[in-house]
């Protein structure tokens, strides 16, 4: 995903976090380049985050991934200033939120960002409806309005009818749905999700991931998602930042991380990922096979020869959508009988099509039975690219660079 032309929505620059009694005094040591262990041994201060720089674009799911102790939960708490950095800037839409007064910060938290917590962070003394409408209630919005909105969001996350229940009466997955509904209920643009699905069973977790992706397609929020689970990161992230011992090791699209790990640490992480399952077709989709759109046999044959050379086949598409494969040999033989004729159904070689969001794993069986590259079509059935068997094999094998 290329977002370089957009202005960054959220920007973090030179962010440091040091835990201890006099963190500011330790900063010179950090700038000297002393490592975490030295600083801890010498001063008793823990270097939590070191020189974090990142930009997050509007409407993307940005995943911050790291193992426990990597500082990811600390980092996400900087976005709404639950934790203040020792040094560094945090800008949202160009505004430095570190300069906010308490009142501005409160308004910012109420309207701009909402948060979902690992252990749900629900209020046990409020029922589900009051929990979901909590953000609105502290804004002073009256009961009728906030309950209406809360009921709507509860329906959206699939918990309609649970309004009167208390959190302790719900299962983990249901509680986190309440947490999600609460976050959506304030209509904030930015959603912070701190290991939101980590406390759930694997099945419920993948269900929630699907729900999040589906919601995101409708709502187009900017989501900052923390996880320790690479599979989860790859599944939902538009971009992923990998955090190790308080430092960012790599930022990139899931495929970048998978196919071009920045260092041994990331490589070790990526090693066990089932790439066939994690990589969608669109990431290695190419566009080199010529697309034939002319129904005249002669013109169709001409379209097979492109600047890059002659191809022995091409994809045929009419106004109604993708039709199939036209080979040079068949076209030539058809021309001998019908010199000025059009392409007829019997000239077309039928081939199965795949979609861009399919995983490589699901595309694999189609690739095995086809002697041509696999055409990728969009929802309306029009050609958008193709997947070559060669590239597919290399990617799954991990030998691509």
């Amino acid at each position: 995903m290329d977002n370089t032309h957009e202005t960054p929505f959220i920007e973090i620059e030179g962010l440091y976090q040091i835990f201890g009694k006099t963190p500011k005094k330790i900063m010179p040591l950090v700038h000297e380049g002393r490592n975490k262990d030295d600083i801890l041994a010498e001063t008793g201060h823990t270097l939590g985050l070191k020189d974090i720089n990142l930009t997050i674009n509007r409407g993307e799911i940005f995943v911050i991934m790291g193992l426990s102790g990597s500082g990811k939960s600390t980092l996400i708490r900087h976005f709404n200033r639950l934790i203040d950095p020792t040094q560094g800037q945090i800008k949202v839409e160009g505004e430095d939120i570190m300069q906010f007064s308490i009142k501005e910060l409160t308004e910012f938290r109420r309207h701009k960002m909402s948060m979902v917590f690992q252990n749900f962070g629900l209020m046990p003394h409020r029922n589900v409806l009051d929990n979901v409408s909590y953000g609105l209630s502290i804004q002073g919005i009256d009961k009728g309005e906030r309950y209406q909105s809360a009921t709507q969001w509860l329906d959206t996350v699939g918990l309609g009818g649970y309004e009167e229940q208390y959190p302790s009466q719900l299962s983990g997955g249901q509680q986190q749905r309440v947490g999600l509904a609460r976050a959506l209920c304030t209509n904030a643009e930015i959603l912070l999700m701190d290991e939101a699905f980590s406390a759930l069973d694997p099945l419920i977790r993948s269900e929630m991931q699907d729900q999040l992706i589906q919601l995101q397609n409708e709502l187009q929020k900017t989501i900052i998602f923390i996880t320790h689970d690479l599979d989860e990161a790859l599944r939902i992230g538009d971009r992923i930042a990998i955090l190790k011992d308080g430092e960012l090791v790599q930022i990139g699209a899931p495929v970048d991380i998978l196919l071009n790990p920045a260092d041994d640490y990331v490589r070790a992480f990526v090693k066990d990922v089932n790439k066939a399952r994690a990589v969608p077709v669109k990431t290695i989709m190419k566009h080199t096979v010529p697309l034939i759109t002319d129904s005249n046999l002669k013109n169709a044959l001409e379209q097979l020869s492109s600047p890059s050379g002659n191809h022995h086949y091409g994809f045929y598409q009419t106004n109604e959508g993708f039709q199939g494969v036209l080979t040079a040999s068949r076209l030539t033989s058809a021309l001998t009988t019908r010199a000025d004729g059009d392409v007829l159904p019997e000239d077309i070689v039928n081939t199965s099509t795949i979609t861009a969001n399919m995983s490589l794993e699901t595309a694999l069986p189609h690739a095995l039975v086809s002697s041509y590259a696999l055409p990728v079509v969009d929802e309306e059935g029009f050609y958008i690219g193709e997947l070559s068997q060669d590239l597919l094999a290399k990617t799954i094998n991990g030998s691509i660079s």
């Binding site: 709404n80 917590f117 046990p124 909590y134 208390y166 302790s168 299962s171």
Partner: protein, 299 residues
């Protein structure tokens, strides 16, 4: 102090010095109480007036109205028919055995002491839950208040304010307030960090956090503290009667000095009955307000 004896005998302050210190401190306090006694007494006048008014209200109203009101309050708080009947029976028994007036006196002073303890204790508890430094200052004071024999702090209070209801109230509060302070502090500190963080993340102000999250979630613990405070206040009734607080304590005191076993037992039982009424009613009330703690069917 001779040179050689410090090995065998504890080096001691000379008797004369000790007496001087005592005299000095006693004198200073005496002149302090002479100087400010009246001001302080005047400060407590409204409280005294309220105490007297409340006591008179309980004693002078027809007994059946008082019984009806108490029974109504018990039912409103607990919604339990069994408990209400029990309270009715014990009140009737108390009256039947001729302890009605003393019981009303004790009831009035305990009610006032409890309300004051809650009114003073909860804010202090909130304060020390927010600052570790405040906690480290207040905690040892609470330890002293709970362990120092009541008679010791009765002396300066009586010197300052004389004998009567106000010193009694002060003595009872000093003894009974620590639990409500401690448990308010504990309850607030035990509120899940994540829940509080969630409130902050959604833009709750400090007071919205306190009244919307911390206090409601600490309530079961605070109620336990209030309950303890009531029990401790009741246990001070006899001691308070030594400095002129009328009520169930005085007959007990009388029966100790005169060896009237039955009199002591009856009045003691009346105190127990009051304690049980206070305890059960506050407990069931607390339980009823904590609906969310029921039904953990899904963990």
């Amino acid at each position: 102090m001779s040179e050689s004896s410090w090995l065998t005998e504890f080096p001691q302050l000379e008797r004369r010095d000790l007496i001087d210190i005592r005299k000095g401190l006693d004198g200073a306090y005496r002149s302090f109480s002479r100087e400010y006694g009246e001001t302080i007494e005047n400060f407590f006048d409204p409280l005294l007036a309220f105490l007297i008014w409340f006591e008179k209200l309980l004693i002078n109203s027809p007994w059946w109205i008082v019984v009806a009101v108490i029974v109504a309050i018990v039912y409103a708080a607990s919604r339990s028919g069994k408990l209400t009947l029990g309270v009715l029976a014990s009140l009737l028994a108390i009256g039947y055995f001729g302890m009605w007036e003393d019981t009303m006196r004790t009831l009035s002073i305990i009610t006032v002491c409890t309300l004051l303890s809650i009114g003073i204790g909860i804010p202090i508890g909130i304060l020390i839950s927010r600052s570790n430094r405040a906690q480290s200052i207040v905690n040892p004071i609470l330890d002293i208040m709970q362990t120092m024999p009541a008679f010791v702090y009765l002396i300066p209070v009586v010197m300052l304010l004389g004998i009567g209801k106000i010193p009694g109230v002060i003595a009872v509060i000093i003894y009974a307030i620590p639990p409500v302070i401690r448990l308010t502090n504990l309850g607030i500190r035990l509120v899940s960090k994540e829940t509080l963080e969630a409130a902050t993340a959604y833009g709750a102000t400090p007071s919205q956090r306190l009244f919307g999250v911390q206090l409601p979630l600490a309530l079961p613990t605070i109620m336990a503290g209030i309950n303890q405070t009531i029990m401790m206040a009741l246990s001070m009734v006899v001691v308070a009667s030594m400095i002129g607080v009328k009520g169930l304590g005085q007959p007990v005191l009388k029966s100790i000095t005169n060896q009237y076993f039955t009199l002591g037992l009856l009045n003691g039982l009346a105190i127990v009955a009051l304690a049980i009424i206070f305890d059960r009613v506050s407990q069931t009330y607390a339980k009823r307000t904590q609906k969310h703690l029921e039904g953990h069917n899904n963990g």
